[in-house]
Symmetry: C2
Amino acid sequence: MIYQKVALIGLGLIASSMAHAMKGHVGQIVGHAKSQETRDTALEIGLCDQVFATAAEAVAGADLVVLAVPVGAMGALAAEIAPHLKPGCTVTDVGSVKQAVIAAVAPHLPEGVAFIPGHPMAGTEYSGPRSGFATLFVNRWWLLTPGEDVAPKAIETLTALLVAMGAKVNTMTPEHHDQVLAVVSHTPHLIAYTMVGVADHVAQVSNSEVIEYSASGFRDFTRIAASDPTMWRDVFLTNKDAVLDILGRFAEELFVLQRAIRMGDGDHLFDYFTRTRAIRRGIIEAGQDTAAADFGRVAVKT
Amino acid sequence: MIYQKVALIGLGLIASSMAHAMKGHVGQIVGHAKSQETRDTALEIGLCDQVFATAAEAVAGADLVVLAVPVGAMGALAAEIAPHLKPGCTVTDVGSVKQAVIAAVAPHLPEGVAFIPGHPMAGTEYSGPRSGFATLFVNRWWLLTPGEDVAPKAIETLTALLVAMGAKVNTMTPEHHDQVLAVVSHTPHLIAYTMVGVADHVAQVSNSEVIEYSASGFRDFTRIAASDPTMWRDVFLTNKDAVLDILGRFAEELFVLQRAIRMGDGDHLFDYFTRTRAIRRGIIEAGQDTAAADFGRVAVKT
């Protein structure tokens, strides 16, 4: 057993997937969720061995405490559980931003507790305790951003659990994490949300047409834009600086392309579109996607 | 046999997929491509029964002529083949914009030829004669935008072939087609190209990191942004007005969200993200995508 007792605080997609994935690798799994309905569901489907009405009760005696609540709720949660943490335990979180979580959580934690902020780069467009599944983390990155004062042994033990759940683990500074995520995840999500919102507003094209003809590019945007609203609100509010920086660059770049279209500058467009192909090839070569000819065709194949 | 002889002009992804898909439904398939290498490949892999060095030779005696070249090349092609078309034949194209293709092609066509502009809403990120496959059009929309003077019989016959290849057929005006496509395809493609270009430029985040961590949203953009540069250059140059209209709306909308992030207006963000979820549900209900929890996980599953 990698840990004797694990406490999952918040029982949504990530925590419920973790519960499924860590079975057999840990002794006891206990949990807490704010809503009675979620707690009942968790017991009913056997996510946890025990479920508690308060986070304070859940963390008592736990060797690993996982904060799996929206980023905006992390600070209050840390304040609540701090007095009840087992000395020497490990606390991690699964938030999509790291600097803001550290600023909110770290000041509350007592000395001797190993705080190892984490971010599993995995998800679906679904939420809640029933949405979890054991293979969510298989072959996905789980980034850790521990401070320099954290004992290497604590990091090794947490890493062992994440690897046992199928994840690939990497560590980096919280600052760098937030910059990388602003580029590969946060800004793309905001753009997808925006494009879906625009489509909803265009009077000449009905929503049913948008839906019917979505396969030609738009559908990928809707998949991204269907993610949990609370989670994403908190991401944008807490990784504000990095997202605004990338958004600024995006707007500049878009205006240059928009101008090229308006001026009829075909060479500029052709050169730009040729360059972006190279990044795509890199992703296929890195094994992050298949080379199968399935663009927009998932629905047909599955 | 739905047609006795079909001439495919241009032997890229769409035409080569059509060749595979129409076998057994038509008598003879002949083809032409500008490059000798493409013509040799087409013969070698048996795409066509005959391949000609000029489009004029290929269309001679054909009952159906398919213009499958970039939108920007349609006008010159129509001028070249017009004197060689069989009286009463049907001419169609597969361009992603329709008004510009009609403006370029229609003036050249002799009376008695049925011109039925078409747009198969199917594709992959690959190009060339070897990229085609018979099932590309299965369950995909094929939009037709015939003028009011085209004989219903000619439309019925073409529709029969498209349906035999697996496509769903719908007709609309060219104006409406170009508006719909600007929303569901053209603008999303430009945005995806832009975001991939931005990621390429951000100095603090290396390209290898962008590639490694792409699964969290960005990968869907790169798949879209890897499409054929020539085709997309022509799309933006020829559907300029509709794309600039949608791009203008997109920029406005993005700035409102950007401002909400800067001002910390979480309620605005939450409400916006909640609305976009409804469109996604509509797409799943319309059968345009599966409800499977596979966001960003295609590579793992296939």
